[in-house]
Symmetry: C4
Subunit: 259 residues, 4 copies
């Protein structure tokens, strides 16, 4: 029997993380074209019952949070944004990239950041079964695909979390994003087939146009951070340039082509 709101499932952000650095989890991405429909001009928002639910669930009903680790670090902030619907909930949360130190003292991106999706089915009215939650980690390119998805377009991503390891092929995850038939938004569907524990799960969350616009805004904001381009804010400083000019008087002499 599923444990509903009583267990302490693994917290988001610590246990279930993207293995892309060690083992690429992505088998492939296939996007099926939708036959063109005329551009719809109406907006249907979420139904009133699910909308009310959206407000009624505070994150207190979700998973518990782990203790802080790492003295001297800025405090961890959990910023999962949830879309609560009658049959399931979808939570999106960004993961910062990891940097590695080079011998010179400089840094490079060791692992790109991503956006973590959590799907949990409803376990009754305004209750979600976090024990049955399924997760999916969006890469930068997959985020880009969702950002640029037209109102009548659909896409599909395939992940194998064990790719390149002994259990490769035994777990398959498919995320489908398709237009809702009434043109009011998109349907997110995560299907997971786990042959290791003989489990199959498929969770659907309808996302209205307004909710999708929020996701696009968040994803657009997050992408430069996920790829480290926010460090431009440090290098594009007039004060630093002054010092740079003093430290490196030849910096003005450089060529696009100098072989």
């Amino acid at each position: 029997m599923p444990n509903v709101f009583l267990s302490s499932p693994p917290p988001p952000g610590l246990t279930f993380q993207n293995p892309s650095r060690l083992n690429p989890s992505c088998l492939s991405s296939l996007c099926s074209p939708k036959s063109p429909k005329p551009r719809t001009l109406s907006i249907k928002c979420s139904q009133s019952d699910t909308y009310g639910q959206q407000r009624s669930f505070s994150p207190n009903n979700g998973p518990s949070y782990p203790p802080q680790s790492g003295v001297g670090l800025p405090p961890k902030v959990f910023v999962g944004h949830s879309i609560y619907k009658g049959k399931a909930v979808l939570t999106v949360e960004p993961r910062a990239p990891e940097f590695v130190t080079l011998e010179s003292g400089a840094f490079k991106i060791g692992r790109e950041g991503n956006v973590f999706l959590q799907f949990a089915p409803a376990a009754g009215t305004r209750q979600y079964d976090w024990d049955r939650k399924q997760i999916f980690s969006l890469s930068a390119t997959e985020i880009g695909t969702l950002i640029s998805l037209g109102p009548t377009e659909s896409c599909e991503f395939f992940h194998d979390p064990f790719i390149g390891r002994s259990d490769e092929g035994k777990v398959r995850k498919v995320l489908k994003v398709e237009p809702l038939s009434d043109g009011s938004g998109h349907l997110f569907n995560l299907s997971v087939l786990n042959m290791l524990i003989n489990m199959e799960e498929s969770i659907f969350v309808p996302v209205t146009k307004g909710e999708y616009a929020v996701l696009v805004s968040l994803f657009n904001f997050a992408l430069p951070y996920l790829l480290g381009w926010n460090t431009l804010a440090d290098s594009a400083r007039p004060e630093d340039t002054r010092r740079l000019n003093n430290a490196n008087p030849r910096s003005g002499v450089d060529y696009e082509w100098s072989r």
Copy 2:
């Protein structure tokens, strides 16, 4: 008789706040599709008389501001952006989210931020009656709906500030946003029916395409802050990663799927 510019109405940002944490104020959101019209290609800016008025009203004519509270906090900054028109004024202002501290010392979002709308009717030439102002608090999803609203689309939001409390149903607020008939922008209409004090008010503010584009730009900027994703700027730092790696050497071992 309405008190025009003489009273000290409750300041924006302290008295009238979004009750979504305690009592969801949102009954439902209904968006009525507009029959498709050909994409209009003209831009009609605001009429010259109202445009002149827009410049003539400084925030000095608006509500007064409360004293600061909270020693050691960064100073409060009031950044309401107003669209002054002949018959009414619309002011938009962002509200930061509230965070709560977890036992671990980490934070999570306790209440999402929102955008606060204030409508006040005109009380004569270049005067607005702030005593009769009506307010409406936009959630993230409602902001997303406005951001993604096409030039010929309309939408409608319903709020009950007393939902879930004893006075539920006695106050109804409806915000409608519809295309102007001449294609020059959208009409914002806030209707409030208050059976507790037997009051009914409906205020209209036409918003030109240029003004709407400013709102979209502000809303797009604000959304990540309202949902706390701006904290990515703290976690996506190369220096922190270095420390994180030292503090948590196992951070590289993680799986999207590890049951």
Copy 3:
């Protein structure tokens, strides 16, 4: 005879500023619709000669810069972005808003920021006559109009820098932005009629689609700063919220509607 590159014209940002706080300079904004054309799908970039010129003119050839004023302020940074063409140059530069202090110690916007346009005609090959430059200060709404301008749309803004003063009506400025006939971008035209000194000037700068996209990106970035919404970065901090909660334990009790 015009003084070419030898004079020290008034520096940008100090002498010619937007009088909107004291005297609205904006008579009206009129935007003439363009008859719909099919969406053009080609991109014509700037001609090679003008493109070469664009690179050949460094800001050193432009106006001189004033001494710094204000001890303890962050250093002033001039970030005018110029579009150099064969017959004229257009420079765009943002102006930060001005805040005023309230009695409580809080701040509000005293004057909204704007974007300052400078047009200077060419005075020969790769030389511009800064003595004949004309200026135009874009308000937030005008910026929004330019951001949302479609590829086949045009718009027009009217300013009177002396509006509300004794010389009202004696100087008229009109900024027109129209699609180029070949669909390669937009033509910016600033016309100034100054009856005080019996001067008339009309300067044209063709702006390619790529250049226009740069302007839109800069304007979109700047708008929240011009209206003070960047201060959300200070208020949307988890640390501050913690302190706020301690300082103001009633902060959770608030209503959208509390009359």
Copy 4:
């Protein structure tokens, strides 16, 4: 014989830089219109084999990194974002602008930032030949052209890294960006003809719609930094304004037009 992954090619960001300050490298930009096609509504993501490759190549396989220079500077962070495909790889990385100090202590942009493209051909399965890499430096306007490029549009940029110098005309670089025939994205093609060393190279990288959306998001984020507009974050501060008002009491008296 090409040296594959064994050499230490010149690091990105130090050797091959944009000579635009000293010698404009840009001959011209020509964009050829594509005959209009109906708006395609399908999304084809990258093929599974190349997608797997994308994940399998860490930056460790790329060029080495130089030692840090400049004591007291914030650490250099390498944030090249790579699109790995079967026949070649494309890496994009931003370059901060350079500021120069004016006599007054103020700053101005001495050289605008840009985005650096590196193309390297494959040298076998999941190996790239960095010795044969070709580079191309995108100016702000070229970035704007790519940002605003429609799904069925194409564009073309020409650079001569020796323009204005004795070897002008001996090296020609052409970057073409064209829609893929199946509508799944754009094809990036960098062709370099170097008559100095009798070398000719043409490298193709297909970029899916999702990958292109990531580039657009990064470019849109970067543009204000490349042109220095991020310094608005310093000038648009309420605290500074207060000090400014004290230091310069006449700051409220200014006119758009004051001749």
